[in-house]
Symmetry: C3
Subunit: 368 residues, 3 copies
Amino acid sequence: MKRTMAACLALSWAGASLAQSGLIVSGGLDLAVAHYKGEGGGSRTQLISGGNQNSRLNIRGREDLGGGWYAGFELEAGIAADTGAGLASNTNNQVSGIVPAGSGNVPSLTFNRRSIVGIGGEWGELRLGRDYVPSFWPIYLYDPFRTGVGFGGITILGTTVTNLRASNSIGYFTPGCDAVCKGPFAQLMYALGENGSGSAAPDDGRVAGLRLGYGAPTWEVSIARSKTTSAAVADFTQTSGGGFLETKWARLMLLVGENRTGRPVAPLNNGTRAPFWQLGALVYLPVGYVPVAYTRVTRNDPDSSSASKISFGYVYPLSKRTAVYTTYARIANKNALAIPVNVGADSGPTPEAGRGASGWDVGLRLTF
Amino acid sequence: MKRTMAACLALSWAGASLAQSGLIVSGGLDLAVAHYKGEGGGSRTQLISGGNQNSRLNIRGREDLGGGWYAGFELEAGIAADTGAGLASNTNNQVSGIVPAGSGNVPSLTFNRRSIVGIGGEWGELRLGRDYVPSFWPIYLYDPFRTGVGFGGITILGTTVTNLRASNSIGYFTPGCDAVCKGPFAQLMYALGENGSGSAAPDDGRVAGLRLGYGAPTWEVSIARSKTTSAAVADFTQTSGGGFLETKWARLMLLVGENRTGRPVAPLNNGTRAPFWQLGALVYLPVGYVPVAYTRVTRNDPDSSSASKISFGYVYPLSKRTAVYTTYARIANKNALAIPVNVGADSGPTPEAGRGASGWDVGLRLTF
Amino acid sequence: MKRTMAACLALSWAGASLAQSGLIVSGGLDLAVAHYKGEGGGSRTQLISGGNQNSRLNIRGREDLGGGWYAGFELEAGIAADTGAGLASNTNNQVSGIVPAGSGNVPSLTFNRRSIVGIGGEWGELRLGRDYVPSFWPIYLYDPFRTGVGFGGITILGTTVTNLRASNSIGYFTPGCDAVCKGPFAQLMYALGENGSGSAAPDDGRVAGLRLGYGAPTWEVSIARSKTTSAAVADFTQTSGGGFLETKWARLMLLVGENRTGRPVAPLNNGTRAPFWQLGALVYLPVGYVPVAYTRVTRNDPDSSSASKISFGYVYPLSKRTAVYTTYARIANKNALAIPVNVGADSGPTPEAGRGASGWDVGLRLTF
C-alpha cells in the first residue's frame, strides 16, 4: 500500500485504467402531459416531469470488505426531464441554504436526491451525507401515487426544506434496511445545521428523526417522526405512520400523520397542527394496475379548515421497465385552505381559498 | 410484477444491483485556440469549446418492447470544455425561464441539449421533453461547419431562446428518423410555454414546428418551419430548407431560410424579416476534408443592410474518433449590421456597424 | 469516412449504439464529522466533504492513435458530498468569472476539477482546457494531508481563483507525466484570461506557469511557479517546491514556497510576500498510517505576523479503496493573522487576530 499513496490520488488519464468494480449507473425518466384547473385561478397545461415516478440519474457502488462488512455510496440527481435541468439541494437544512443560490424549483444539476457514503455489517449500516428523513418513508411508501397529480403528500408536506431530505446527516439503519426493510427495523437520523456557536440560532437546521417498523413478506407497518429545529417556521415536526397489506387483487395502504409548526406555513397556513390521513390502494388488473387514494387533511387554525383529495389512475406496463399511465385527481378545499392538485414547478394553478382544483395527466415512464 | 411495486422505486445500494441493460454513455469534447478581430472593436484570443463539434456528455438507452415497438431516452449535457462548466436550459421557452436563473452563456451543468423519453414503432416515434426544433435541423445539417468560427448559422440565428431547442415539447417523427432520416420523412413538434390561462400572455413560449424531407443514400432535401409565440419579440418564425448531394469528391450543401419577428431582434436588429442563404461543401482530400461556405443574410429594416461570411477550414482525422482542425472566417457587414464571427461565450469582439470581423482557430476534437 | 460525416454528429438513440471504447467512470467520496474551535470565534460542528480526499466524479478516456500517439480527455466534477451539490469553476480566471455566477463554495455541478482534451506521444503531451496550475502540484504532492482539517495548504493558499486550477489553459507535459512523473520532467501552462484588446485590463486572468522536477522510484523533487496577471490583487505569484523520500517506515516530505501579491489578500492579508514551509510525513504502521505535518507561514506586512500549524491523524484502511480516518490540527496565529483550521464551505470559525484555532474530524473515504 505504501508506494501507491501518491498514485491513488493521481488524476492522469495518461496512466492505467481504474477498475470500475461495483459502479452502477441507473435512473428513471418520466414525462407526462398534464392539465390543471384551479377554481378562481384558471387552468394550465404543462409537460411535467415525474407524473408517476420521479426522474433521476443514479450512480452507486458497494464494496465487500470481508467478514460481513461492506462499504458503499450513492449519488442521485433529480432531473426536471421536461427541461433537462436539475433540482435544488440545500447546504444547511435552512431556507438560506438552497443550492443553487436563489434557485426555484428548477435549477441546474445537483445530487439533491441522495449523496451518501456508508459502512455496514451485521450490526446495521452507518451513513453520512444527504439522505431521506425518517418521516418521509411512510408518506412515500404508503401512498399509491408517490408523486405527480395523484400524490397525497401534497396535502401533507409543509414548506420546510427538510420535508423529504436532510443534508449533513448521520444515519443508522438496522441490517438490510433502506426504503424497504424486513423484520423489525429502525432508522435513526441526526443532521447538522452547521451554524456556529456564536450565531443567532446555533441549532437552526438541525434534524433529528426516528423510524420504527416491521416488514413481513405481505405486509409492513411503520411509524416515524422527524423534528427540524428551524428559525424560519419555529420547530417543524413531521409525524407519519401506517402500513400496507398485499393481497391477490390489491395492495391496500393506510397512512396517518401530522405536520406541526410553531408559526403559519403555506400552503396549509396551519398555525400549529395539520393532521392528515390517507386510504390508498394499488388494484391489480389482468394487465396493469389502478392506483387510487383518498386523502384528508385538517388544521386547527383557523378552525375547521380542511381539504380532501380523491386520486385515481391507471398504469399499463409495456415491459418491466417501461409503462404508460394516466391519472386524475380532484381536491376540495374548505374555508381558508387553497391547495392545488400538484406541487412545485409542475403544480396546477392555486384555486381561491375554499374552492376546488382538479387535474389529469397522461405519461410515459421508464427506468434504466 | 405485483410484488415488485415497492422495490422498483427503492433506492438502496445495499440491495441487489440493477442491470445496466441498454445504457450508453458517450460524448464529445472539442477545444481550440481562437483569435478574433472586429474592426473598431479590437481583438480577442480565447480557448473555445466546440470549434468543430459541440462538447457534450450523453446518456441514452433503448428498450425493445416486442412487436416492433421500443422505448428509449436521451439526456445530453452541453459542456463548456474550456472551463468545465455547462450550458443553459430553459423552463418555459421564454426569456424568463433561462436555467440556471440569471446565468449567461456559461452556467453550471444541465441536460440542456436534450432530455427526452420516447416510444416508437412502425408508425413512427412519439417524444416528450426538451428537443431540437424542426427548423434547426436544416440549419445544422446543411452547414459544413455547424459550430465555431466558420458556422454560417451565426448570421442566421436570432436571439429567441427557441432557436435551437424547446422544452416541454411533444414530438412526432416518422419511423427511423431523428437528425438523419431515410426516404420521405416528417417531424412535428408542439411545445408548451406553460403559462396559466390567467397570465398576461397565456401562449408565451408555445412552439409549433414541422419538418418535411426526403433522404436518399447520396442526397437529402428538407424544409422546416418553427413558430414561437413570444411576448418578448412578438412571434418568432424560423424557416429553413435545403439539402445536400454526396459526390466522390465532395458533399455539396445548399441552405436557404428566413428569420421573421414582429419587433427588432439583436444581433440582426431586423424589423421584420431577415432572409439568408448559404452555399457550402465538405471537399474530400486524400487525407481529411475541407469545409467551406459562403453565407449571406439581408434584412428589410433598415433597408439594404446585409452581411456576407466566407468560411473555410481543414479537418485532419487522427482516427475515426479524433481529429485536429483549423478554420478561418471573415464576415463583411453592410450598413446597420454588426455581426461578429462567432457567437455566445466564445464569440469574437463585435465590430462597429457596417464593418468587418474575422477569426481563426486551431483545435482538437474527440468523441467517446 | 465520407459518408459518415453527417452521422457522426447525429444524436439519435433510435440509431445504432456507439461503442463505449475507452470510457472510464470513477471517483471518490469522503465524508467526516468535524468539530472546530476558533478562539474568540466560537465553535462549529459540521459534516464535511473531503476530510481526507476530495469528493469527485471522474469521466475519462484514452485512444491509441498508433505510432506511440494517443488522444484522451478527462472531466472531473467536484462534489460537496455532504449536500450533493457541486463546486465552482471559472470562465476567465478572474473573480468576475466564477461559475455559477454569484455562487459561493457550494453551487451546482460543474466539471470544475478538470476539463481537458489532450494529445500525446513520445514527445510529451499537449493539453487544452481547465487544469491544475503547475505550482499546485508541489503543494499537493508534498503535503501529507492534501485536504481537510490537517491540510497545510490552508496557510499557503491565497484567495485568487487560480490557486489550484486555471480555465482556458494550454499545457505541455513531458512524456508520461501528470501529477506523478518519472525521471526528469516538466509541465508548462499558459492560460488565457480572454479579455478583449479594448478592455480596461486586457491581460486580466492570464496565467503562466512552469514546473520542473525529477521523479525516482523512492524520491521526487520539484519546483514550480505560477503567475496570474490579476487586476483584483495585482499580479499573484505562487512559488512552490520540495520533495519526498520514501523509506521503509515513512514517506518524508518537505515543502517550501511563497505567495506574492501586489496588494493585501485575505486570509493572509500579506502586503507583498508570504513565505511558507512545511515538514510532513506519512508514518507507516503495521496497519494503516499516520499523516503528520508542521507548517509555518510568515508575512512581511505587517511585520512579524505568522501562523504555525500542527496536524496529525490516523488512516485505517478497510480495503484498497476504502478507509476510515481521524485528524487533529491546531493553528497558532501571531499578530494580525487570523487563519482558521480549514477553508471553504467546511471551514472552522475564524479566530480573533493573533489567537489560535483547532479542529478534529472522523470520517470515511472510498474510491470507485
